[in-house]
Symmetry: C2
Subunit: 164 residues, 2 copies
């Protein structure tokens, strides 16, 4: 496949940060790689953040994505959890942006809609669509699967933009 | 003054990130430099975060601090503001930790207590103590003054640890 664009999808978290690299060219998509960054449990906040930053920096240098896709987060029922998630997300964004890769931020329901057609699709519908579009990808965790979904959603979004 | 330790204090924010470099040797402290990082208003979230990261990276490379001091943030009345502040804080921590500088995190009342002796000291008491300890420093904004206070508090904390 002639690669038109390489997309890095990120599902950030202080304990587990999922990442996925997907190539796209017209209607075709190809799975390249994916994984999960797991800062060690004994690390403090700043050490966890730098683990996320350095591993994503390495991933950017290895796979050289053209664009990055990441979810916008909102304040949920537990503002403390939101704050922790926000800090993990910032470490991820800084790692990518420091490699001069454009970061695209999407609301969760926009990602679901881009993949399934429904903004309120449940998790199993999203997983089903990911398996259908990229059967080669065999995510070993929910965070990795979500990162693949986030990358795929961006390729759909870009396609829609071009089609307009 | 023989420099025993150089401390970088940071008061993070998405619009204004104050920073200050203070040298310490025993009871002596010396003002080195301070300023405010001001990401341009038209920038989006990821561009603001990378501005904070890159400017602090440059400050770390220029002044080569030994340690960094930064406030712990808590969820306040406005969780959305807390989330934004958390992301700015993470960009700052990653910039410093990526230069292999240890990051020390303190609760706001611990910083106030280390400076004035009272955990619930008001802002004017903190400012007065900063002026007394470092008359040479002429902060041009509240963020810059707070960063100086955060750096100074850490030098007091370290001194207390040694004195124990």
């Amino acid at each position: 496949m002639k690669v038109a664009k390489r997309v890095l999808g990120i599902d950030p978290g202080l304990l587990h940060t999922g990442w996925a690299v997907v190539d796209t060219c017209g209607q075709s998509r190809k799975y390249v790689a994916s994984g999960v960054i797991l800062p060690k449990a004994k690390l403090d906040m700043s050490e966890r953040l730098i683990t996320i930053f350095r591993e994503l920096d390495e991933i950017c240098k290895t796979f050289e994505p053209d664009e990055c896709s990441i979810e916008i987060i909102f304040v949920n029922k537990n503002p403390k959890t939101t704050l922790i998630l926000g800090q993990a997300r910032a470490a991820a964004i800084v790692a990518v942006a420091n490699n001069n890769i454009s970061v695209f931020e999407y609301e969760p329901n926009v990602i679901k809609k881009a993949l399934t057609g429904a903004g309120h699709a449940d998790k199993s519908a999203v997983d089903k669509m990911v398996k259908m579009l990229l059967p080669v990808a065999q995510p070993k965790s929910a965070d990795e699967a979500d990162a693949i979904a986030i990358a795929l959603a961006h390729t759909n979004m870009v396609k829609n933009l071009i089609a307009k």
